[in-house]
């Protein structure tokens, strides 16, 4: 119960009256986000994921162009109605 009261105070609800005294134990702990200190792991993951996605996208686009040109050559453009 003391842990529940501490959690309530951390959430800044100390002024509000708790509804009865029925606390449920939770696996989660709520903390105020600290935007002053960067979450460097998150930043590194975000940048590396972005770089990986861009690299994959540009590589896939280049491969698509090459494959399209190759298939156009192989087809010999015998069908003139469909593009």
């Amino acid at each position: 119960m003391a842990a529940g009261l501490r959690a309530v105070r951390r959430w800044g609800l100390a002024a509000a009256a708790p509804p009865g005294l029925a606390f449920t134990r939770s696996a989660f702990v709520a903390t105020k986000a600290n935007n002053a200190q960067p979450n460097w792991l998150g930043v590194a993951l975000a940048f590396s994921t972005s770089a990986a996605l861009w690299a994959f996208l540009i590589k896939q686009h280049k491969e698509d162009v090459v494959e399209y040109e190759r298939r156009k050559q192989a087809r010999g453009h015998k069908c003139t109605e469909c593009s």
């Binding site: 686009h61 399209y68 087809r75």
Partner: protein
């Protein structure tokens, strides 16, 4: 069914910057800005890594969706022209 069957590679690939990819990339960026707003951070200057990531994911999803849309349209066009070719009487 596959998202992009192999025959889709016979189509000319859409340019990297097309309507779908640019728009969804912009939407991703806006949602990062909205996230900044909801968490009471400076809207433009905060979380640049998040803005870049959301914009990149939006761009990527947009590009894949445009490729699939072009494939579906081409498939329908092909079936339409095949039908016209097989039923010339109806189209005279």
């Amino acid at each position: 069914m596959a998202f992009l069957p192999d025959e889709a590679r016979s189509l000319p690939p859409p340019p990297l910057f097309n309507k779908g990819s640019v728009w969804l990339g912009f939407v991703g960026w806006l949602s990062a800005l909205a996230d900044n707003g909801f968490n009471q951070r400076p809207v433009l200057r905060a979380g640049v890594h998040r803005q870049i990531l959301f914009a990149t994911v939006g761009f990527f999803v947009g590009y894949q969706l445009v490729k699939r849309a072009e494939y579906v349209h081409a498939k329908v066009d092909r079936e339409l022209f095949e039908y016209i070719r097989h039923h010339p009487v109806d189209f005279q």
